[in-house]
């Protein structure tokens, strides 16, 4: 009996890992890029206190943090077609995850920008930099150092959240595990195996994080 389970686990490992590499990882990366772009825009219009846009940003964040990710996924994939917007499952998932995480990371980035001392803004203004130049040359590089750990945590969270994409027919890591579990009647073993593969991805990311942080720290002047 246990030998059979071992056979199933071994033969299913690559079958689950492959869609993990082909779908889960690209889905995570694309959604995270989208989230970063959205988050930066939401944070900047708020820091700059742009009229109207900063209010829109607040409302956006309120909605996307206040409703379940699964509901957002369903609205974008199942709901929008009735308004004439028909998306494939994969791009729908990228958009839903990106928009959702964008709302959370906007707050991280906004807090990081506000964490840069006021004197940096003042000094930049007095050497003649415009608001944009101040952001690009002085504030955002420092805010990035502050925001890096929480942003990376959100990336690791996203890897696991992409399993929700199975609910809108994206054939990713978890969907594949589900299919094999249904076929072999070994849900316990297969879901554990899926969990282990997610754990594997996240472990690699955790290593990557500490490696990158060391590089950041070396560049950052406080530690010399």
């Amino acid at each position: 009996m246990s030998g059979k389970i071992a056979d199933i686990l071994i033969s299913s490992f690559t079958k689950i890992l492959l869609p993990g590499i082909r779908v889960t990882i690209p889905l995570t990366i694309l959604a995270f890029i989208l989230a970063t772009v959205i988050a930066l825009a939401l944070a900047l219009v708020q820091v700059a206190k742009v009229p109207v846009l900063s209010q829109i940003a607040r409302i956006y964040i309120w909605i996307f943090r206040g409703t379940p990710l699964l509901v957002q996924l369903f609205i974008i994939f199942f709901g929008l077609p009735s308004l004439g917007v028909r998306l494939e499952a994969f791009p729908a998932a990228v958009i839903a995850f990106g928009m959702n995480l964008g709302a959370y990371n906007a707050e991280t980035i906004r807090a990081a920008i506000l964490g840069v001392p006021e004197g940096q803004f003042e000094a930049a203004a007095l050497v003649g930099l415009t608001w944009w130049q101040t952001m690009i040359r002085v504030v955002l590089p420092q805010a990035f150092t502050i925001a890096f750990p929480p942003l990376f945590s959100s990336l690791i969270g996203l890897v696991k959240d992409t399993s929700l994409a199975s609910a809108i027919t994206v054939i990713e890591l978890f969907t594949t595990a589900q299919q094999i579990a249904a076929r072999t009647y070994q849900p316990f073993a297969l879901y554990c195996e899926a969990g282990v593969i997610y754990l594997l991805f996240c472990t690699v990311l955790t290593w990557l994080q500490s490696w990158l942080e060391k590089k950041l720290v070396r560049r950052s002047p406080e530690n010399d």
């Binding site: 000094a123 003649g128 002085v138 002047p221 010399d224």
Partner: protein, 250 residues
Amino acid sequence: MIRVKNLHKSFGSNEVLKGIDFEVDNGEVIAVLGSSGSGKTTMLRCMSFLEKADQGEITFDEFHHDMVTISRRDIHKMRMHMGFVFQSFNLFANQTALENVTTGLTVARKIPKPQAQETAHEMLKKVGMEDRALYYPAQLSGGQQQRVAIARAIAANPRVVFFDEPTSALDPELTGEVLDVMKKLADEGTTMVIVTHEMQFARDVADKVVFMDGGSIIEQNGAKEFFESPQQERTLQFLRRSSKDYNYYI
């Protein structure tokens, strides 16, 4: 030449500046003295638009503006000709000493990088920091940071440099190196407005001293006259308290 007229500023119900008239001629070194809370730093910050005045007019060579209604663009234009040295240095933490000096040149003034770097090295040399060009601010001592900050402030050859208590955040043994650099600038004819508590320095280096108390300028005079024959009782009181060896009498 800078002239500020009838400058008013309040923080809430606290009136910090009560109608200041202030003038700086080209090549002049002015020390602004006064006890804490007298409004000297606020005056400097209003003149550089870090604080918005409640009332007042400013004339800065060809510029003439109401300090309340002035546009962001006009502020930017005037700042291109101002240098500012902060009490807490405020060097860009993500940039090396060299980059701190070049950023204002390359980014704000579109000066080509090689030329800007040449100027920056020259400036760092002037403040004795050329061997620390590639250090980050946090790798430098307070005195070294302030010297780099001075190099940054003078790099674009401003018409006036404001110093806001440039040595107040420094250990006594580090103030000397910063004051030496400032003296050198003064000797070169740099127009400087220095808010300071360094009496001896003001006496040695300033052409003119402005004494503030309670949000007003109480007395202004040539540095020698100011220290040797103060006109106001309040000034004398201040001088006695701030320099122990003060021994002039009205």
